[in-house]
Symmetry: D3
Subunit: 313 residues, 6 copies
């Protein structure tokens, strides 16, 4: 496959790309045309269909994958694809991971690992709560497995929420072995649920942007509310336990100025904040190192607020 980042003026292309955006417009001469943005995992490129009614142009729309035949030209210093033929593809014809960022880890394997941890929870109410989300709520499960964990920063890819959740949860398991005062059932339940609000804060790929309720309420409050709702439906769920769990969710950013309406008051809440912060920083630095093009000093990094360096040894 010819990736978008490698296109050059004068190329001919005959490959499948995702249609990220499509708009019908009219030239100054009154002729209809389509203005399209094509996308693959390496980038995007403008494209035009100057003859929408001609034989080789299928009906298509974002986010279809389309088999494009065309020419690459240069317009105002930017590349533009002149689309001659466009055929809408079926699901088996392409590998989605060529078009959207996807976790490098197998989604099924990760989810099975998460379910395995849920099985080890002993407290019946917490276990039931987790099962309500991760076993019985099919819509939630599908969203959860596809969601990214962020719009731009770490884990910003399909499956990113699952990958981040699993990593945080396993780090919390390690904590439980090292610091025996921690209540394992509460900490692991909180870890598994800490970012479930993100399934509603961000829309799915290819959009992966903040929703209205994401901006108005935020994943922290939505996650806490989701837990409150589910818990209310579980008979006998202890009120204090519900509050402790919601408190862990609400306080997991650690500081008021990071958007948590409460600071952590429980040892498990402190631990969850540490695990979340650790995974965020380690994954961010990993992604940074995976994307460097020259060794040595990488310049100022806004997330780490200093110049960063790829360790030699």
């Amino acid at each position: 496959m010819k990736f978008i980042k490698d296109l050059k003026n004068g190329d001919r292309i005959a490959d499948i790309y995702m249609c990220k955006h499509k708009l019908s417009a009219t030239t100054k001469n009154g002729k209809e045309y389509y203005s399209v943005i094509l996308q693959d995992k390496t980038g995007t490129v403008d494209a035009k269909v100057w003859e929408p009614g001609s034989g080789g142009i299928d009906e298509f729309d974002a986010p279809d994958c389309i088999d494009v035949f065309g020419e690459v030209t240069s317009f105002n210093g930017a590349l533009q694809v002149n689309i001659k033929r466009a055929r809408k593809c079926g699901e088996g014809e392409y590998d989605l991971s060529n078009y959207l960022p996807v976790s490098s880890r197998d989604n099924d394997v990760m989810f099975k690992e998460l379910l395995g941890i849920i099985d080890t929870i002993e407290n019946p109410y917490l276990k039931k709560l987790l099962q309500e989300f991760f076993v019985n709520d099919k819509d939630f499960v599908e969203l959860f497995r596809k969601s990214s964990a962020a719009k731009t920063v770490h884990h910003g890819f399909i499956g990113g929420l699952l990958e981040h959740t699993l990593s945080v949860t396993k780090l919390c398991e390690y904590y439980c072995r090292s610091y025996p005062m921690l209540k394992r059932d509460l900490l692991l339940t909180a870890a598994i649920c800490h970012d479930i609000g993100k399934t509603r804060e961000l829309s799915l790929f290819p959009i992966n942007d903040y929703t209205d309720e994401g901006q108005f309420l935020g994943h922290i409050v939505m996650g806490s509310e989701m837990i409150g709702e589910k818990a209310r439906k579980i008979e006998g769920f202890p009120e204090l336990l519900k509050q402790e769990l919601q408190h862990c969710i609400l306080s997991h950013h650690g500081e008021l100025e990071y958007g948590s309406p409460k600071k952590p008051s429980l040892m498990e809440a402190v631990a969850l904040n540490l695990a979340d912060n650790t995974d965020a920083k380690m994954e961010t630095f990993t992604e940074l190192l995976q994307n460097i093009t020259a060794p040595g000093w990488q310049g100022y990094n806004k997330f780490f607020e200093t110049n960063v360096f790829d360790t030699r040894l």
Copy 2:
């Protein structure tokens, strides 16, 4: 009535006081006695019942009001009442406002005024939501009318939540007249509901202290969740409207570091934060001026972070 702040060593008392706290204990010699704290609106005083089994001592407990006969002595530099007789009083025998701080404004009048404002809301969903709380939910109404708005700072008295809510709401009405871009229905609904979470954050008088869920979740998140629950039960309640309303509640402290998980994104949310802040500061300064004992400079005030002065003119 002889108020506690006026008691002196050697006084005899024969008056009704509230029992704030009562504990059975044993002297070194193995004799049982009661350790009691008596309270009225002017303060508290330690008291002892050395002869619990004697004839004149009724069964009583906090927060009963008891008719006390006893002597004031001095012990280790502090006053102590030696209780000789104690009789538990019935509801009609005393005026509660002598024992607990109560709003100076009539509760019925204030509540009627609030209901009058609710009547003016035009949006049917918002009006229905308000009625569900303030008309149909009797338990809520009782709590709301008795609650204070704070443990220690402004409006820390019975009826304080109602008084503060009404004051904020009327200030928002003024804003609507002055700044026509404001959506009156949304702003007034948000104003009326902005502190409803306080009915669960603080326990009622005479305790008036933070509850567990108050500490774990806080009135901001609880208030938003209460609105979410009620709205879900109103058929057809527009999703975006619900989010806008919840956003106003969540952001009404104005800054993340003041415990709001979101900063205000709507003009109404900004207005609510201003009205809440204005009433808090005006009431705090009013209470401060009402309690000064000498004119002039009042020393450093932690709330206003400077020395304060009672304006001459």
Copy 3:
């Protein structure tokens, strides 16, 4: 009238515009020409007079309004007016509000309202002080009525200072009714005078930029000094009252880091800060909503430090 924001390449214009800036220059070939910036209330456009000595070109300079005949061309991607004829207009020929931002409220009406409030002040010294400024000092009155309240943010238009002052003063009147501990005479006098230093901090339109003394001293200190000077000339003006009034001016930004050399120590000073802040935020959001081009999320707003949204309902 054809507004500048609507000009297109190829247009011919024959309308009155304000000359914002004019410069004589020489082409590479040694020919003199004028480089001009034309302005109306919708924006500015570059213009050239290539034949300054030709018959149709009057003597003119900034900030004259000139009747222009010319052609709109495109140069380096920006529009440019080629001025063929230019005639300097007299005062009656144009409506200034087409060329400069002006308050949407009538200046006479607003000023009369302000004078009406001054009439209600009972303290003779404060009333006299206000009259010295707003009745007897004609130069001050003219400046005050024409001034904007800011260079870029809220109320940045002719009459803005008057509009903002009136709005703050009326909000303070509302406070006085709601919070009876406030001394009305002091608060309203302080409100009316709080930004008088802006008459010297900013030059008038069309420049509307900081003056030297504005940058060196600032309107807070200048306003306080102006009050001090006037008060010294009023026989018997009580020294403490003068200090309280100046204190309200000095502290009206509320925090040292916002440029107030003192934090508010008086209830009236606290109230003035709240009213000023409220009007600033409400007007800023109003102007923002008046200028949006598409509904929904308006992106990050620096003043409110968050994404803003135009409320649906």
Copy 4:
């Protein structure tokens, strides 16, 4: 002389002390007595005159110096002087520096040095301004020479304002020699005037406390206003020069949060802030080292925000 810090239970005293405070009161038995506080430079002690009408007790009041004959007793764990005889002293009988903190440097010598620097100013307007304050305004000169520079921190003694002013001015002279871009006349004038507002911010000893206008306006704004007034009376004083000078005064605390309404915009304003800060810190550390009782680590110091140590070498 027997200093107050050395008094012990059982001592007899026959020495001159300053009366800091005197109050007539009545014992429970209805007998009149005087409650007095005696002071010398080493501290204060409570005292009582139990027989005000007896022969040996003169009329006296704060801040008289009185020749006391009496006995030191212990009451409630604190020392108390039982005054038997008290005679009001005349001015020549005592050395004021035994009773109030006084600069260790000779006031006349320092003031002459300051006048000598004023003589070197070349700009006629600045020189005239300085002479108006320091030569022609006798009341100001007397206040200026007696004032302390602070209530509690550095230079908190009679003559402290003069000593601090001179030290800052001479440091600025050094700067002028090292950094030739500095305008000497402006910098030295600003240095000499930078704290003149303190003559009104603090009352004189023995009170040495903030005045009303000190708390309402502060010495920074008052100093700027004093300069403005004097400059207005000097014919032809250049407006811009006045503003530059006032700006140096207003900005000499360097940061808004330290009470300066403007940050320094001129090189001379930056220099003045540095000189003021340097002298404040050096004098504070000097006073600290002069008062230590044991060598080594002196514990946490609030001003320097760290543990301090007296340098060995």
Copy 5:
């Protein structure tokens, strides 16, 4: 053994306590006596030897353990032991952990575990460096094993530095397994060495207080310098590797305001900061929970900056 916290007025004691402090003094009547502070792990108590020359009083001094026979009296509201006989004990007579706080984990076991991790380092220079400290430098090893990790907060006991170091190192081992971009040799070496400067920043128990160089330089800079010195003595130690390792030490507090002169620029430096922070918080909360006396809310905690609660479940 009768612990100090259980002593009551009137008790007789005949037990071994540590002498924390001893001073010879003279009574008002000129008689010599000893003023002593006795200590065990539960607290301290004042004690007096009124007859130092009498037969039963051995020569002893801090920090000897002495076998005391005496009586507990009450003086000025505090307990005081009147020592009748005092015998200095030999090393075998008492269990030091009764007198000083000691890690609950076996020192030999922990140190062996640390040496085992050092064995797994593959880089020859880093391994050699670790061996120079932890195998060949006997003085260092003794200090390191006895040191506490803090004066007051977490791990403030004998062996605390070893326990904290081991815990941080093992957490870093977990990170290496989870985040493969981390260079294990660098991270584990940095973890093992991160607090070695504390061997010189704090004196050993029973004093456990900051040394002069601890206050002047701090353990961060001292630790970095110690590594620099050792590395210079290892032939061929790569310069860049030395800098990377020192950088990890210097930046391990994560932020400049926490005393790190550099922020972490390497992924390993970020990881070390996270591990150190995690262990500090988990151990602090563990110690807090181990010391609570009543369940529920534990009040405001300065370290966690919020109210804390012992999790129920």
Copy 6:
């Protein structure tokens, strides 16, 4: 000499410039060419050698000075030199100060002045330490005299470190005369050594950029370590004196957030911080005023965090 800032399209040049950067590249047609950056003290310009193999092109590389013959053309809106001939120059052919920024003060004179101050140190250990650096360590002396004091801000030129050090030291001498509690030997030694770490933090001109160890460790820690090393080699150097001196170096930035791992605990450390800060600000403002092109307001200055003005008078 024709300076780079004066080059215009169409110029011919025949002058010596420094080669700042040189790269071999290949045109689309496969022809080799050189891409070069030429530099003098007024700026840099791109240049190309299109015929590297032609007779007139010497071998050269950065940072050689080369005698260039060529033409100035305009490419994409920027100037470009087409190099026809290029000859590498020998050391005597050019004046380095035309190509690199150099202190305006004579290096020998400044260094002699510094040595003169070293001669006045009385403490034998401090004097020996200074001589070890500034007399006996020839490599250090050469580096120290050539180094700049900064990459971009004040004293960013050859000799800048020496000039800044001398200026700070002389200011400290002034302090010693004004504040006699200061220990002169310690303060002057600390002043002379305070920035010696900069000899390793920044590489020499023409690069003048941060080194690896500069970024990893910083000049503060490196300077302290350099002193520690030298002091250890001087027999009998008092341990406490070494710590006091290192403390002055470590704390000379004054605040943790400015990169000092300790705040100043000694009067000399406070003084050094003040002197360093004073010289930095005075030199920065001096350089700013030397580079202004139009009088009056110079716009916002990031270093001084406000608008700056060139003082008129």
